[in-house]
Amino acid sequence: MTSETISRTTNTPKTEAELAEIVAGHFAGCQPLRTMGGGTRVQADHIAGDTLTTRAMSGVVTYEPGEMTLIARAGTPLWEIEAMLVSEGQALAFEPPDLRGVLGSDGTPTIGGMVAANASGPRGIMAGACRDHLLGVRFVDGQGRVLKNGGRVMKNVTGLDLSKLLCGSFGTLGILTEVAMKTLPHAQARGTLAIRGVDDAEALRTFTTALATPFEISGAAFHDGTAWLRIEGLPPQLAYRQKRLQELFGAYEITFLDAEATVTLWRDLRDVAHFAGTDTPLWRVPVKPSDAPALTASLRALGGQTSLDWGGGLIWYCGPGEASAVRDIAPHAMLVRRGGVEGSAFPRQSAAVERLSQELRRKFDPAGILNPGLMGG
């Protein structure tokens, strides 16, 4: 059966109990489920089974700005969460990207989908990824059991950290029903140094220099001859850091972008907007930063373009290269936009890691019904 001929039922449970019942039924019948939040992050047409979306399980359970904690049901739209945080001067510090432009998907990104994808943006270089801000989860496993792990407090080492496993598992271990996140104060002032007329190697040198300063660089990205360094903080901090960094990079042609331009620029960089609007395959490649200049050159030799984020620790490659050719150059490459490329979107793991991952999947999802074929196993 090809993807065009699959006729799917869409399950849209409104409660955790309802969701558990649906999964238990599918488990009993060994029927696969294509699970999602808003369906905005993964090109998943090839995954078998009925669709199950958490988007009707919406709403913030608690938000305590003085404790920097938020608990929300998985289907809560991300924009709703972000608007609420902004009203209290807070944010999800890891800047979850919105990939609708890149993937050509519609729908609404949800907080559960964000956690399931461990969606993390440019500020990850300073603040860490989504998984670093996840405090706890409730989820339904592949047998329809309702389980929880972690909690709602910032420090918690009680038992095994299954929340980390769920984060970034793309719904293959369980379906998130509720997530607890750490929030952080939103920077009161922000600006960006744009260093123009540099190549990959020079961009990397500026990143390395800037990221060795104590000025808490919260974004370091490069595309099309310009390297950007974002600084944030309280207003006096911003002024001081700008001055010191401009002195440091005095030899370059530098412009300073104000708060408004900074917000727009980093939203676009976060969403990889410069590679949106086409169907060319798009790869996300975490690398050791010092390897980035050589790797980008090799990737561009396949045809296509590259950009850098995370101070050179993340390469975006948008180009026609075959999967095997891309992974020969960059073994950690993950395919974000398929653009006709076949095979797994996820990079190959070592045999030992793959074995452990498969065995873990069998514990959480013994019948293999959750997003089969999406992520190994």
Binding site: G124, R131, M154, N156, V157, G159, L165, G233, P289, K363
Partner: protein, 480 residues
Amino acid sequence: MAMPQPDERILERAPQIVTALRGVLPEDAVIDDPQETLAYECDALTAYRCAPLAVVLPRTTAEVAEAMRVCGVMGVPVVPRGAGTSLAGGALPTADCVVIGTARLNQVLEIDTDNRFIRVQTGVTNLSVSEVLEPHGFFYAPDPSSQLACTIAGNIAMNSGGAHCLKYGVTTNNLMGATVVLTTGEIVELGGAELASSGLDLLGLLCGSEGQLGIVTEAFLRILPRPEGARPMLIGFDSPEVAGECVARIIRSGVLPVAIEYMDEPCLRAVEDFAQAGYPKCAAVLIVEVEGSPDEIADQIARIRAIADELEPVEFRESRNADDALAIWKGRKSAFGAMGRLGDYICLDGTVPVGQLPHTLRRIGELSKQHGLEVANVFHAGDGNMHPLILFNANEPGQLERAEAFGADILRLCVEVGGCLTGEHGVGVEKRDLMDVQYDAPDLAMQMEVKDVFDPTWILNPAKVFPLQASAAHRLKAVQ
């Protein structure tokens, strides 16, 4: 605290086990002299002791793998051990176990400031990592109080934090990769020099797993540039509620201090008698530290002062130089020593939502009267990680049990108000049988199934973390 009876069949085979270990390891790596193994009979939870069958001190990952392989094949339990500073009995041996210690895995393998990581063998101490980084202008952020002695191996096992983790996070947020030895002796690499990896987050699962899944022999640690400077301030309040309110208002204001420490009145009294730190006489003291350039620090202190002033503090003291800073931290840093002078104590480690601090402190006071034992509180207020110290007299029969019962009541309270059993010390044996207060049976069952994947016969640090009754069926597999 109950531990399972040692397995007679293992004890009978002790000579063969030691011989087998000697067969694959250098002569000085295997210790079975009862006088020497005695040094490993407990960790910092000293109320419980038991010398192991043997101790192995390897120098390389390959040697750890050999030792594990032998123990795996012979069905001998393995208790991993860093520096033995665990406060929860995480490294407590049993008579039928082999302790694998990381003391000789003490090499710094690579310092890479361009890529902002350090690669170490995990027996290095936490503080020595920051010390070797100092000439490079970098540091390693997690800073547990025991950092002079504790090892990176133990930090990873317990997901350790410290006073500065409000801003910088705990171990799991600063760990990029690990070399892990599984119970089969297989060596697995997780993560590495990259900031992210895809696939299931096995590294995140491993961190904080208390030696249940594997032994970490090498690690890639994220390093950060040193801040230009740091200065603490001390704020005294005559009510715990108002002190708690001050913490919440600071956090809401947009200033993110690197540390917010809290001491209550009984703790302040003990500290004053011991260290003469010159703290004000009041119900609660906060120590708040901020970082940056001199101007940035002055700005942040002014903001915090404005917040505190609205709450009419008894005293607001800011440090103007290094001596002032030392004086402010002096009392806090000597708090545990000061309490030790008053008698024996057990130090708890529950975490509560910050907004629940005043209520929790009040209830702890009530429980103190109920149990007839004194308690003092010193903790990381920014993240609600409390450390109630329960005073008792170990020489008086029954007092330890009373102190433990009081402690269990406090930890139940922490969970009841939305917190958790342990913020940084771990479950170990200490809180093992309280796990069902925080987790329902299916939640715990899932965690144990995950352990099954890594350690199918439960030879790795068994009888820890999971309630004995709940884990009995899993542990039985080791015997069969």
